[in-house]
């Protein structure tokens, strides 16, 4: 079956994105396919490359990146939500004249339509907020 996930909460501050990650791991282990993980609202903070949590704490950003590498996942960050919250890739940083950018590798920035497209393509769309 084809799954997509929508993640609405920031890592660390809320457990919801951790639950989404464990759900993603489980569905992949069961042989299902994960079409897309769409990060919206505070979920966009999953995609920062500037987080530096203590070494002995679970690093969710890194966990998403590893999972994406292992399974060729499409991790999409909503552009409108990201711009308001200070998550930028290189081209958005240039467009808005910002000195730096902070989107982690394996994530990409795109529009809300990517969530709708995920709903159309997927058998199941599960929201974590």
């Amino acid at each position: 079956m084809i799954f997509s996930l929508a993640v609405y909460s920031a890592p660390y501050s809320s457990q919801a994105s951790y639950s989404a990650y464990q759900f993603a791991v489980s569905l992949l282990n069961q042989g299902h396919s994960l079409h897309r993980v769409f990060f919206y609202q505070d979920g966009v903070h999953n995609a920062t490359n500037l987080a530096a949590p203590p070494q002995d704490e679970f690093n969710l950003q890194k966990a998403w990146q590893r999972l994406a590498q292992d399974h060729h996942l499409d991790l999409v960050v909503c552009i409108a939500a990201a711009l308001r919250r200070g998550i930028l890739d290189e081209s958005e940083a240039k467009r808005y004249d910002k000195q730096s950018h902070n989107l982690a590798t394996e994530f990409c920035i795109s529009g809300l339509g990517q969530l709708v497209e995920a709903a159309v393509v997927s058998d199941r769309l599960i929201c974590f907020g």
């Binding site: 079956m1 799954f3 457990q15 919801a16 639950s19 464990q22 759900f23 791991v25 489980s26 569905l27 282990n29 069961q30 299902h32 199941r124 769309l125 599960i126 929201c127 974590f128 907020g129």
Partner: protein, 102 residues
Amino acid sequence: MSTLHTINKSPYTHNTLVSCLKVCSERDGILLLEDGVFGILTSAPGADELQQLIQRGVKVFALVNDIKARGLEEKVAPNIEPIDYNAFVRLTLNHRCVQSWY
């Protein structure tokens, strides 16, 4: 086909469980996770309504990782089934769609 409802907020603090129970149909399922697992306690607001729904056919599950994390393993109310993340995935496939309450 039926709906799987997930609840991730404490019923002592939020009204989400009570809201969910109002519109839950008899063939639906409910999964408690994160702080939603406090809903497994018999003292939780909505616990009586939850047991009544179970009697009418609603299946209620709770994520075992979240139960253990919060130290509630010995406190699970009757007829609530602890499940792991793998079973959570299977549960979403046994229902037509998933409504996340938060």
